[in-house]
């Protein structure tokens, strides 16, 4: 059945263009001086305060998935789903606080985390982590642009390519003005706006439905066991009917996947290291990541509870059409439960607020990730290997040029994957298998003075190969295959790096990093 998009197509253009214009104007008036040198462009001036770093980490770590998938976990696993989602994705932030403080203390002039690896370990580890960081950021950006454009298309009817194009144009409208500082300023505004949007939605659900009614609905689902998702298997259905169980087994599996997957997405991602680099001092970096963990946690928790759990309690069925007044909306797939529920509770206003929140999340993360790829390319590849004697002016031009080229390449990639019908479903769960083998080597490089360079290098590669091989052998299973794949990746890389270090320790003097700068060390 063909159901018209509930919102007009101009609404998504208006939301995106308004946001892009505000960020560009703010950056132009407040911070364009930060775009005058490559050093301030890539490092943000290294003097940004706690409030902005805190808000920036929150905004950058809120993806479209944070709002969509956390609500899906509420719909799929019941009340515990959003808790597990939030816990799993929060764990990397305190860890990053310790790592960031350590790196800013031992190597104050570092601009990127691969640069730290170059000086701390060696050239091959530098190349490996430059590659990993670039792939992580590109993967995430393609995923979030695709997700944002699919959602925009589904709820406004605007063409997929037009939304993707507009998002990329917004990324390159304000970032080239002041680099990292621009990204962090825009993140700050987005973060504050996001809280307002989500509080409106959460309070609306509280007032219009209420927790007692939701509890009664969950009890009803557990008793009557309705088929809410006709396409899923029996195991998934059982977990959905178990919505009041603290120890929902499938939900616990998701917790493991979420912890491991997100470790790689944060600790091996220059976007978050950039926030460490931009902070005023090591103490500010530490405090900001710690408070960001506490400020970020309730975002998926409250959203998933308000929208996902409430949808489960009302017994929403995938494939059905629902109405609010005269308007209707088609519940196309379980992952789209959040906007459908926002529409049912608040009508068009709810859907618009939710799209505004997802649009903000997509722009802040996407812009940060594109800048992260630029930083690694200019600082680690161009300055590190191609032109080590490049002057600041040359680096600044290279930074802006790289930003535009990457943005264009990403747009082509997003449209290409869409055209060939490549699905990003499950990519979120599979992320840990691809990236998280580098987590243990990064932690050891920061804190263990005897870390073996060969061990750190091969742990990252072999861990990923083992996890990927296992996962593919299970037929890329997204239930328990992906859980064990994630556990294997982290375990294998830990065993290799630790054993190699114990058998052949290579003592390192961290004080030697104090004056280090540039990516040509090792």
């Amino acid at each position: 059945m063909e159901v018209a998009a509930p919102l007009p197509s101009w609404s998504i253009y208006a939301i995106l263009i308004a946001q892009g214009s505000i960020y560009a104007l703010l950056v132009w008036f407040l911070g364009r001086a930060r775009g005058k040198t490559a050093e301030t462009f890539l490092s943000g001036g290294r003097d940004i305060g706690h409030g902005m770093i805190n808000a920036s980490v929150v905004a950058t770590w809120v993806w479209a998935a944070t709002l969509m998938i956390s609500s899906w976990t509420g719909y799929q696993y019941g009340f515990i789903g959003p808790w597990w989602y939030a816990l799993g994705a929060t764990v990397p932030l305190p860890l990053m606080a310790y790592l960031g403080r350590r790196v800013r203390t031992v190597m104050p002039r570092a601009t990127s985390y691969p640069e730290f690896m170059a000086h701390r370990l060696d050239r091959k580890n530098h190349i490996l982590h430059s590659l990993i960081s670039t792939v992580v950021s590109l993967w995430i950006t393609v995923m979030i642009i695709t997700g944002g454009a699919i959602m925009g298309h589904a709820f406004t009817g605007a063409p997929f390519w037009a939304i993707a194009l507009l998002m990329v144009i917004i990324f390159v409208s304000y970032i080239p003005l002041a680099g990292l500082w621009a990204s962090i300023l825009a993140d700050t505004v987005m973060s504050l706006m996001l809280y307002v949007c989500l509080i409106i939605i959460a309070v609306a659900v509280l007032v219009k439905i209420g927790p007692s009614e939701i509890w009664a609905g969950l009890t009803e689902v557990a008793a009557t066991k309705p088929t809410l998702q006709p396409a899923i298997g029996e195991a998934e259905q059982l977990s959905q009917w178990d919505g009041l169980n603290w120890l929902n087994p499938a939900g616990l599996g998701f917790l493991v996947v979420n912890i491991v997957g997100n470790l790689g997405a944060v600790l091996c991602n220059q976007t978050y290291w950039s926030r460490v680099i931009g902070a005023r001092d090591p103490k500010t970096a530490f405090k900001s990541f710690m408070t960001a963990a506490l400020c970020w946690w309730p975002i998926p928790l409250a959203t998933g509870t308000a929208l996902g759990v409430a949808a489960l309690s009302r017994g929403l069925v995938v494939g059905e059409t629902y109405s609010n007044g005269d308007a209707t909306i088609l519940f196309t797939e379980a992952e789209a439960v959040a906007p459908v529920m926002a529409f049912l509770v608040l009508g068009f206003a709810g859907l618009t607020i939710f799209i505004l929140a997802v649009g903000s999340a997509t722009i802040s993360t996407g812009a940060g990730e594109i800048l992260a790829v630029t930083t690694v390319f200019v600082n680690d590849v161009y300055k590190g290997h191609i032109n080590p004697k490049a002057r600041d002016r040359t680096l600044l031009v290279a930074s802006r040029a790289t930003l535009y080229v990457i943005a264009a390449a990403l747009l082509v990639a997003v449209i290409f994957f869409r055209e060939i019908g490549f699905s990003f479903a499950g990519m979120y769960q599979a992320m840990g298998i691809a990236f998280s083998s580098a987590v243990i080597p990064v932690i050891m490089a920061c804190f263990v003075k005897n870390t073996n360079r060969e061990g750190a290098f091969w742990a990252a590669i072999i861990g990923s190969v083992c996890g990927m091989t296992y996962w593919l052998a299970t037929g890329a299973d997204l239930l328990w295959g992906v859980v064990w794949g994630n556990i294997i990746v982290l375990s294998v890389s830990a065993v290799i790096a630790v054993t190699w270090t114990i058998m052949r320790p290579q003592p390192f003097d961290f004080d030697s990093l104090k004056e280090s700068e540039g990516a040509t060390g090792g």
Partner: protein, 50 residues
């Protein structure tokens, strides 16, 4: 799980969200105050920071 526990759970999620928002706003405003003070000081001393 009893109704009381679920209701408590639901309220905790919203209260935490509001507290997080209040802290984020407070921290950003504190930063802005510092930025404005520094700008005033720079203007008074006739220097400009890039």
């Amino acid at each position: 799980m009893s109704e009381l526990w679920y209701v408590l759970n639901h309220w905790v999620t919203i209260a935490w969200l509001i507290l997080a928002a209040v802290y984020a706003y407070y921290a950003v405003i504190a930063d802005l105050v510092i930025i404005v003070r520094n700008r005033k000081r720079e203007q008074e001393s006739g220097t400009s920071k890039t």
